[in-house]
Symmetry: C2
Amino acid sequence: MNFQLTTEYLDALKEAISAGNDAFIDGLLQELHASDIAEIFNELDIEESKFVYKHLSDEEAGKVLVEMDEDARERFLASLTSKEIAEQFIDNMESDDAADVISELSDKVQNEVLSHIEDPEQASDIVDLLNYDSNTAGGLMAKELVKVNVNKNMIDCVRELRSHADDIQHIYAIYVVDDDDKLLGLISLKKVLTSSLRVPIKQLFNEEIISVKTNTDAEEAARVMEKYNLVVLPVVDVIGRLVGRITIDDVVDVIRKEETEDVQKMGGMEVLDEPYMTMPFWQLIKKRAGWLVVLFIGETFTATAMSFFQDQIAKAVVLALFVPLIISSGGNTGSQASTLIIRALALGEVTIKEWWRIIKKELLIGLVLGIILGTIGFLRIALWSAFVNVYGEHWILVGATVGVSLIGVVLWGNLSGSLLPIVLKRFGRDPAVSSAPFVATLVDVTGLIIYFTVATLMMRGVLL
Amino acid sequence: MNFQLTTEYLDALKEAISAGNDAFIDGLLQELHASDIAEIFNELDIEESKFVYKHLSDEEAGKVLVEMDEDARERFLASLTSKEIAEQFIDNMESDDAADVISELSDKVQNEVLSHIEDPEQASDIVDLLNYDSNTAGGLMAKELVKVNVNKNMIDCVRELRSHADDIQHIYAIYVVDDDDKLLGLISLKKVLTSSLRVPIKQLFNEEIISVKTNTDAEEAARVMEKYNLVVLPVVDVIGRLVGRITIDDVVDVIRKEETEDVQKMGGMEVLDEPYMTMPFWQLIKKRAGWLVVLFIGETFTATAMSFFQDQIAKAVVLALFVPLIISSGGNTGSQASTLIIRALALGEVTIKEWWRIIKKELLIGLVLGIILGTIGFLRIALWSAFVNVYGEHWILVGATVGVSLIGVVLWGNLSGSLLPIVLKRFGRDPAVSSAPFVATLVDVTGLIIYFTVATLMMRGVLL
């Protein structure tokens, strides 16, 4: 089962294609899952892809198309006529996948493809789905579903099921609706198989049904499925009529996307809407430069802060040597703290109401971490001074200044790092936005002030 | 459907509990899903929980228990006898959930609970599951499944299904096995419902089946389900015998856990094995201090690097003012780049074989970003100098030195940030490990050398 696309495999395949070896290709495709064939298609050039896809059934071809990488799919579809796309792919796809693929085409090609779809219901389903925002439940759902009127019997239920068996790849439940198509409940396939066929549906169906609206946020729909352990979630319109269903595989993609967005925001950039490799150069620059410039301007305040301490630096150049060490320690601690809190907030492990508990915890943690780093910092200076005279005769004072400053900066970095996400969330902002670099910038400026203030106090009359 | 646990709701409930209002509680529980009841249980104290759970059916009680927060569950179970835990919860749970709950108990209580389970098959299933590592497919799977011998008819299939309907909450497929219990394929429920009952299974079942082994890594199992869009995945032993099945809801948890681990590693700490709030204080310190100390020791090289340029700093103190600005710009750019590449690697958007394409792309991006920040840096110094004499008469030279250094440092930071994850992955390491702070530390040390070298070259004869 565990298909691995190796170079040797691909070479053998390409050879068979150029030799026009139909039997070989047929045998191969028979063995493989659509997701594996899609992986192969990602690696083939246009002519090769065209040769291979002719060996696929229309149904299989649609599945392969959906699983392909976006850029490979775009290139492949560009080589086909709108009629080919409609008849050999879209006609046999489930409506949500069909709408996703069509939405990637230009407006002109979209219209051509839609006009070539043979099944009018399929065409109207797709047109309908194209209207929904892709970040909503409506944008995720498929229109194909099995529903039955609440006044019917189980035998009607089975009949309905059989009549849809060919269009719908996986059926997990039969939905029960009233005369106005309003969603009332569901019957599981297990129930159908274990009940007498003469029983009225009214007596059997499960009224405890969870649904979302078409305009529900996609991430919210994902959370609902996760919380209630659902594999399929019905979608209703504004007045409660059943219009579609979301399946768990689409939700897994939503979760992955959400996580990627969080990670990118935490890394200090705007969210990329496309995979890294296909993102155009200037788009990448745009997504990255904005936050870099904001952080840079914030960071220029370090120069301002330090200019207030020019005299001290001129008198004791040794002070300047530890500037990067001290501010980066604050930044690293703050970045740990903000990562922890952002993630705990995202997973619902903590709520902003618990801010006081978090502060108390992080104050103590920051103190302990600060003492650890401060001690190492002092020992490092003491150790070096034992061998070389790099820090002058007052090395103990230098070491103590660095050590005490580290405690203050780490404590403060830790507190800022844990508080900032909570404050952002409190004011309705996304706690993940640019948090780690933002905390670092904040802590850099304040860390310098802490350091030079400690130095001024401790070294007065000796070095300063 | 959208249940929201409000303070008012909880207060009303607590009042009803203290008044012993059984009817109110019954009505309430009837309306709610087990996941919602679990949310309520998380907020109740022991006595209240005990009062409420007596109103739940045994089956419902098990579901609620599984969905509760780990610490609330631990507290609640500690207040019950082993007999109560076994008979009122474990007996009616699916084996995977039962094993998960039992694994959280102490060894002594585990044995007691196991000895009180009434159904010997359930007890032996749980004992069996407890043996698997929780990070493997075996640790995720449930033992309950419906299987049928390949030599039977569809009617046997339906019979088998009906006989299991009560033990298994959701049935998605019937597995087909040979006389030795080896997995051969599956029959979907849809197929059962749409086929004649007299047909032999041999003629109908789907041989294209994807399975994993009990010792397959849990994350790998998750990837297989994701790739092939599966809601249930059969698990076989080392010689191919069917032993269990994994459902998609468990895999969603695996994905969430995997993402959390990645985020925490990227934030520069060890992975926490527990939720933030329940993690003991010294454990948190341990998870965080290790990497902080490593990074701190790396960062002490900044002091070493700067000590080589003490003379320059003494002559031109103004140089010291821009140290934080310059190194943080390199760090921020590097952290963006490493975030991008780590995420793209994790999602399979890029492979390490494409390193040369990535370098070419990132070199250009780094150059453009460097020019942007360098220009802003120069303008900032020019602007300030127009109003105050903070950077002396040679402000143009200072501005040019800072600007050119920024180009170099940003370019280098960007390159290091994008290369480090690739190098780590190439040598079989996890690219996410401590990447952002690690890149920052690397770039800090090298950035200082770039800066002071540029300064020495450009200012020679004027300021230095």
